[in-house]
């Protein structure tokens, strides 16, 4: 099963890699239209970051895509595989290929602040993975991801300011902890909802499996939004 999941994930990566075609296109456009003297390295860095973002979202949201597209859910659920193994086989290839890509960004110093960039991308992918069981529509999934990503960024800024005001850590460490704590605050309720939903998952329509999201994820997100609102209005 792991082999199949690696194959599926690499297929998504290959599709996302088509964004690399933007590099020669940008160079040509610069030469003919913009005349900004864009360096190959600059265009490559931006393109690679876009690939990372797109890959992390797509590979995450498409966790059960092959089952939906291939009508293989009934077959998968009838096989003697534990649910925990299915989750592992689905997440491990996605995360390991993403980590490999992140290693490339670290080697070539593509991110300005490497560790924070990595946390953001990993958070984005895991959020997408955990959201895959929540709703049936891909558009709502994408909207959901962007809402969660915005919330994550706002919340990490808030934690950063809080830690920085303590005056214990250097600026970069405060920012790192801000990202780390914010990702945990987002991923823990989402992850619990995902695991609880998948533990009882069967062939019933998706709407019968979303109780954990309604009772865990939604209140957690509402609390985060409330905290941001109170902070923004200087109540805290």
């Amino acid at each position: 099963m792991l082999k199949k999941e690696f194959r599926d994930t690499l297929k998504i990566l290959l599709e996302c890699s088509s964004i690399l075609l933007a590099i020669p296109l940008a160079k040509i456009l610069d030469k003919l239209v913009f005349h900004q003297g864009w360096r190959f390295r600059d265009v490559f860095d931006i393109t690679f970051i876009v690939i990372l973002f797109v890959f992390s979202i797509f590979s995450g949201l498409y966790v059960f895509q092959s089952e939906k597209k291939d009508r293989g859910f009934e077959y998968l659920l009838s096989l003697p595989i534990k649910r925990s193994k299915i989750i592992f086989c689905k997440i491990f290839p996605r995360l390991s290929i993403l980590l490999l890509l992140l290693a490339v960004t670290l080697i070539f110093s593509i991110f300005d602040i490497p560790l924070q960039g990595c946390i953001t991308i990993i958070t984005l992918q895991l959020s997408a993975v955990f959201l895959t069981l929540a709703v049936d529509s891909l558009i709502i999934h994408f909207i959901g991801i962007f809402i969660l990503f915005t919330l994550f960024q706002l919340f990490s800024n808030l934690i950063f300011y809080f830690i920085n005001n303590l005056g214990v850590f250097q600026l970069t460490y405060s920012a790192f902890f801000g990202e780390l704590f914010s990702s945990l605050i987002l991923l823990i309720p989402l992850g619990i909802s995902f695991i609880l939903s998948f533990k009882n998952f069967d062939l019933k329509p998706l709407k019968f499996h979303t109780k954990p999201y309604l009772f865990i994820t939604l209140p957690a997100i509402a609390i985060q939004i409330l905290i941001l609102f109170l902070y923004n209005n200087k109540y805290i």
């Binding site: 291939d70 009934e74 077959y75």
Partner: protein, 274 residues
């Protein structure tokens, strides 16, 4: 053996089963039938572990109870498999899940399936045979087949049914079929279970059932007899009686006719629509 105890299941507010009980002895060939939407496919999916019961339990004999899904082969009505895989990849995938090293491809040779073909390129019959050969490679103790046999062309259907007969006679496999068409499978069946409103309306050995259900042709209505359905014509009516007893002949003026399985089930189903 499959033992279903106090099983309850529903889709949202729609109740399918409530305190449902059923026992299927080892090695029996059972037909589950009933009108559309009565829960035949749901019952098969519950036994296969594809759906989870709301309440109650499904028990299996000791030899397979540790990991029932390892010993249950399930061919769904949608022939669910990973369609984008090639035949060869699907075989490897199945082998890796069940931890088996050998795959006997004698069955797929009959069907002219090429190993490089994608599953979505196969016909329904070829996919059914391929799915069966995947299941056979795992030595199942229970085989569940949902309404697929009559979607297969005559040539492949014969191959499919021959394999089922071999499986039943040589390996004592318990076979549970959901079907609405019985012509080809009547000879291999032991038992018929008819579902009605989420409950068992009939659960009889096929021989017993044939002696218990009869058609009476008459011009008079047999009001005292247990009529399950009737068909009215201009000059006479046909009454389907269950359970039929020999002494009814004395009480009733008309002709008594034996029925085949298709006619028996039609009589029960006709009664539900009446």
């Amino acid at each position: 053996m499959i033992e279903i105890k106090n099983l309850s299941f529903k889709f949202g507010k729609l109740k399918i089963f409530n305190d449902f009980n059923l026992e299927i002895p080892k090695g029996e060939v059972v037909l589950i039938t009933g009108i559309n939407g009565v829960g035949k496919t749901t019952l098969l999916r519950l036994i296969a572990g594809v759906l989870k019961p709301l309440k109650g339990e499904i028990k299996f004999s000791d030899e397979i109870s540790s990991d029932p899904r390892r010993y249950i082969g399930f061919i769904s009505d949608k022939l669910s498999l990973y369609e984008s895989l090639t035949v060869s990849q699907a075989i490897d995938f199945h082998k890796s899940i069940y931890g088996i090293s050998n795959f006997d491809d004698f069955l797929i040779k009959f069907t002219k399936i090429k190993k490089s073909q994608k599953l979505k390129q196969l016909s329904i019959g070829q996919r059914a045979i391929f799915h069966l050969s995947l299941i056979l490679s795992t030595n199942p103790k229970i085989l569940l087949i949902d309404e697929i046999i009559h979607s297969i062309d005559v040539y492949l259907r014969n191959i499919f049914i021959k394999e089922l007969i071999k499986l039943i006679s040589e390996k004592m496999v318990t076979l549970v079929l959901v079907n609405l068409n019985f012509y080809d499978i009547e000879n291999i069946l032991n038992r018929v279970i008819l579902l009605k409103n989420g409950e068992i309306a009939v659960n009889e050995k096929i021989g017993t059932l044939k002696t218990k259900v009869k058609k009476l042709i008459s011009t008079n209505s047999p009001k005292s007899l247990p009529v399950i359905s009737q068909i009215d014509y201009l000059d006479h009516s046909e009454y389907f009686i269950y359970p039929y007893k020999e002494n009814y002949r004395k009480q009733f003026d008309g002709e008594v006719i034996d029925l085949n399985l298709t006619e028996i089930v039609s009589a029960f189903i006709g009664g539900e629509y009446a």
